[in-house]
């Protein structure tokens, strides 16, 4: 196996890590607007946000690493893709920015308006990338208009073709389901019930839409026999997902939705190979050979990746282990946020800081669910 192939696979692995891990982050974010009941919305939203609280940042780094690895291993691909898909990427970046600060700043100020803005940012910042990553990958695998210099000359609106738009629907549905399954696995109480029921309903739609899209991809753009295996794996995983969510088997359901995402990535990258960015005119396609760095650079980067990637998996895995316990509304402490107006008179330290919940549990009067 050539080093260029190794790096093609490695970048596919990084995208797999990103889509599997951020997939449920996006799902949770999108469901923030849909799952919580009106009467206990704030607390249920916090349960949802905190189910991914300690891990979302690490999950997002898979994207930065995929970007950096593409720059290092396939600079031509990096340059063509990101300058060509400029505006969609700009929108994704805006979404990711507001999402990051909303996570960290939401609880800092104890006011309904402040939280409402943070929730809007989280919901918008989850929907937009969920849709747009799908549209982007749909276009990449379908092929775009590249000129002889490998520059993307198709313009913005050529990206909005039916195949790519369906791809956007596919990622959105998979992430919604993946997020619902994750919530059913990670929480307890009323929110778990609703997440499980939502997952059961969503999984059927996902099976239909994603299955149809995968077959479309295979017939129209793959041209390889073996990628049927990826289609089959994804399809079986989605069927098992439907069955597992109906049976309320949350662990297997999560594995099934993760495997479906893996299947989709293998299908997309497998169909493209040896292109990294197929052009409508095949003579202009970027391939693993004409887009790659030199052998020396790839060798250096291979050593770095071989040493560091297992370590990353190890400590990220450990993080999930540390925070393995299911969350319930009872686990959520009272808000310790401040108000923007500081206390009028000399701050007698310790008073008015809002941290009155010394072990006695949430002290707001909005009845606790399940009581």
């Amino acid at each position: 196996m050539e080093l260029t192939d190794v790096w093609f696979v490695l970048i596919a692995v990084l995208w797999t890590g990103y889509l599997v891990l951020e997939g449920f982050d996006f799902g949770v974010g999108m469901l923030l607007g849909l799952l919580p009941r009106k009467e206990d919305r704030e607390r249920e939203r916090r349960v949802m946000i905190n189910s991914i609280g300690p891990v979302w940042d690490g999950n997002e780094v898979w994207l930065l690493t995929a970007g950096g690895a593409t720059f290092a291993a396939f600079p031509e691909w990096y340059a063509t893709l990101f300058s060509g898909f400029y505006l969609p990427l700009f929108l994704i970046l805006i979404a990711l920015i507001v999402r990051v600060v909303a996570f960290e700043w939401r609880g800092k100020i104890d006011s309904p308006q402040w939280r409402a803005w943070a929730d809007r940012a989280l919901i918008f910042g989850s929907w937009l990338p969920a849709v747009l990553w799908g549209v982007a990958f749909g276009n990449i695998v379908r092929g775009v208009e590249l000129d002889a210099d490998h520059q993307y000359v198709g313009g913005f609106f050529a990206l909005l073709n039916p195949f790519a738009l369906v791809a956007g629907a596919v990622t959105t549905l998979i992430f919604l389901t993946h997020g619902a399954v994750f919530l059913a696995l990670k929480t307890d109480g009323a929110i778990r019930e609703r997440a499980a029921a939502t997952a059961a309903r969503l999984s059927v739609v996902t099976l239909v839409v994603a299955g149809a899209w995968a077959i479309w991809l295979q017939l129209a753009y793959s041209g390889k026999g073996w990628t049927w295996v990826a289609v089959a794996v994804a399809a079986v995983a989605l069927v098992l997902l439907v069955l597992a969510t109906r049976a309320r088997r949350e662990g297997p359901a999560f594995v099934a939705s993760a495997v479906a995402i893996v299947g989709a990535v293998v299908l997309i990258f497998g169909s493209m190979y040896p292109d990294v960015m197929p052009a409508l005119d095949p003579a202009n396609s970027l391939t693993v050979d004409n887009a790659s760095s030199t052998d020396y650079t790839l060798t250096v980067m291979t050593w770095v990746a071989v040493v560091l990637t297992p370590l990353v998996l190890l400590y990220q895995g450990w993080t999930y282990w540390v925070f393995r316990k299911r969350l319930t509304a009872e686990h959520i402490p009272a808000s310790v946020g401040l108000t923007f107006d500081p206390p009028a008179e000399p701050v007698a330290v310790g008073s008015g800081s809002g941290s009155g919940s010394d072990g006695s549990g949430p002290d707001d009067s909005a009845g606790t669910p399940g009581a």
């Binding site: 940042d57 990096y78 996570f103 960290e104």
Partner: protein, 502 residues
């Protein structure tokens, strides 16, 4: 404005914006780690209270640092695709290493630190913040190695067939003398920023507590914080000066046009003076420059260590670069990349003033350090109002100095994205003008859209960041922080609320 100008403005705005928050994170993460270490080792509750207080400020800052950093990872490809094609083989490596070796560590272990107060044994929890502190500094090393390669390419050859730079020696890239000077300078500046931040806020609080008649808290909690900030400022301040001097000498060698422009030095001179104040139209050419106040021989001393050393001026360097590059192009049959109007030195006004402002803003930290040394001598505390005000007022100065330092470094590199370096250390062919690096397919309208979008969003977020930081600083150190670690607990507490939740 054309796409090139817009792309330059965008990169400048987003990078300067990112670097408002970065130095504070780089410096404050280790300081918080030190506070927590002091708590774990001594058991003194004051350090726990300080850890939590400055930890909150660190997290507010960290979030926006991450958010603005994401853009940087992709902007090379978006707006500078031709640059990315030219340098990708070399430049991509440190970027990918940064993500694999540093970003993963800091993001994962910060999550563990934030949510792990009551989940992890005390020492493991402490190790998490140290992992974050080390990773933020490691990440700075990799990105500075990438930047230093642009200032002074090493470990690379030019491939005539592909027209690209190709890496030949990763060891040389990571031990580039330029990064070995830039890294200590950037890191010590970050520690100066964080030290001033900690000392400034704690000084203001100490004065306030004394005036409220609560001298016990002032002495017990805030004074040690001022002292920690003070020590940091002194050590980092010396480090900034020493590393800055080393960097300047290197710069005279590697990028003479940058330093000549910074001195407003037009004609080559022996025993060149250091200009403290100059007037005139610095932007166009040397003709309009009048130096009003000068220190004789000091520039030569900075450059060469000799008060009478020879320093080349802008005029000589202009001819030197034009000759060198065109000779090489003719010799190797490469199409000419510039014409007679091309200028091989940067904007004189920007480099001249940013260099002086960078150095000048160090006065802020120095003033606070001196005042603290005097007022807090022999274990005393103070209620002098001006001292508290000084603490708050100088917090901004190291941020400004850092920004101007980077504006100097980066604007001083113009007109190059990858600067050619004079022989013998330079590598022929490995240079790229900024105007040849901009994306071909991203039009002015596209870049303008993102420029406006990023600037507006960043503007709103900066206002919120400032309000949050201010609000949390005004809240002060909380009383009665309890040891939340599982070490001191017994029995089942699975239904207890989380010690921290978003």
């Amino acid at each position: 404005m054309d796409a090139l100008a817009l792309a330059r403005w965008q990169f400048g705005i987003t990078t300067v914006y990112h670097f408002i928050f970065v130095p504070l994170t780089i410096g404050l993460a280790p300081l918080v780690a030190i506070m927590q270490t002091a708590w774990v080792r001594t058991g003194n509750e004051r350090w726990l209270r300080l850890t939590k207080f400055f930890g909150k400020l660190l997290l507010i800052n960290f979030a926006i640092g991450v958010a603005t950093g994401i853009v940087q990872e992709f902007q090379f490809g978006m707006a500078w695709s031709e640059y990315s094609r030219f340098v990708g083989d070399v430049f991509g490596a440190p970027l990918a290493m940064e993500a694999l070796a540093a970003f993963f560590v800091e993001s994962t272990f910060l999550g563990l630190w934030i949510f792990g107060w009551d989940k992890l044994p005390k020492k493991i929890h402490l190790a998490c913040i140290w992992a974050v502190a080390i990773a933020t500094n490691l990440s700075a090393f990799f990105i500075l190695a990438a930047n230093s390669w642009m200032q002074h390419p090493v470990g690379t050859t030019y491939n005539f067939e592909t027209g690209r730079a190709e890496m030949t020696d990763i060891g040389a890239v990571l031990t580039n003398p330029t990064v070995l000077a830039a890294f200590p300078h950037t890191i010590t500046a970050a520690f100066l920023t964080a030290g001033t931040f900690v000392a400034g806020i704690a000084a203001w609080w100490m004065v306030r507590k004394v005036r409220q008649g609560d001298e016990a808290t002032a002495r017990d909690v805030y004074r040690p914080a001022v002292v920690l900030g003070l020590i940091t400022m002194i050590v980092a301040g010396i480090g900034v000066a020493v590393s800055g001097d080393a960097q300047a000498k290197l710069m005279f060698e590697q990028q003479p046009a940058k330093m000549a422009a910074a001195e407003g030095l037009c004609e080559s001179t022996d025993g060149a003076s250091f200009s403290l104040l100059a007037i005139g139209d610095l932007t166009n050419d040397c003709a309009g420059v009048t130096h009003l106040i000068e220190i004789p021989g000091f520039t030569s001393f900075l450059a060469t260590g000799d008060w009478n050393g020879h320093v080349r001026g802008v005029d000589e360097l202009q001819d030197y670069y034009a000759q060198w590059i065109s000779d090489w192009e003719q010799e190797n049959g490469v199409a000419p990349t510039f014409d007679d109007d091309t200028r091989f030195y940067p904007n004189l006004a920007v480099t001249y003033w940013s260099f002086r402002l960078m150095i000048g803003f160090a006065i802020g930290s120095a003033a606070l350090a001196l005042a603290s040394l005097w007022l807090l001598r022999k274990g005393s505390v103070t209620g002098k109002v001006w001292f508290g005000r000084l603490g708050i007022a100088v917090i901004a100065t190291p941020f400004l100095a850092s920004s101007f330092g980077w504006i100097f470094t980066e604007m001083g590199r113009q007109p190059w994205s990858v600067a050619p370096n004079p022989n013998p250390s330079g590598i022929d062919g490995v240079w790229l003008m900024t105007r040849h690096g901009v994306s071909v397919v991203a039009g002015a309208g596209t870049i303008l859209t993102s420029l406006v979008g990023f600037t507006l969003l960043y503007g709103v977020l900066a206002v919120l960041w400032f309000k949050l930081m201010k609000r949390y600083a005004i809240e002060g150190v909380a009383a009665g922080e309890k040891d939340p670690s599982p070490d001191g607990r017994s029995g089942d507490d699975s239904d207890a609320p989380l010690s921290f939740a978003y």
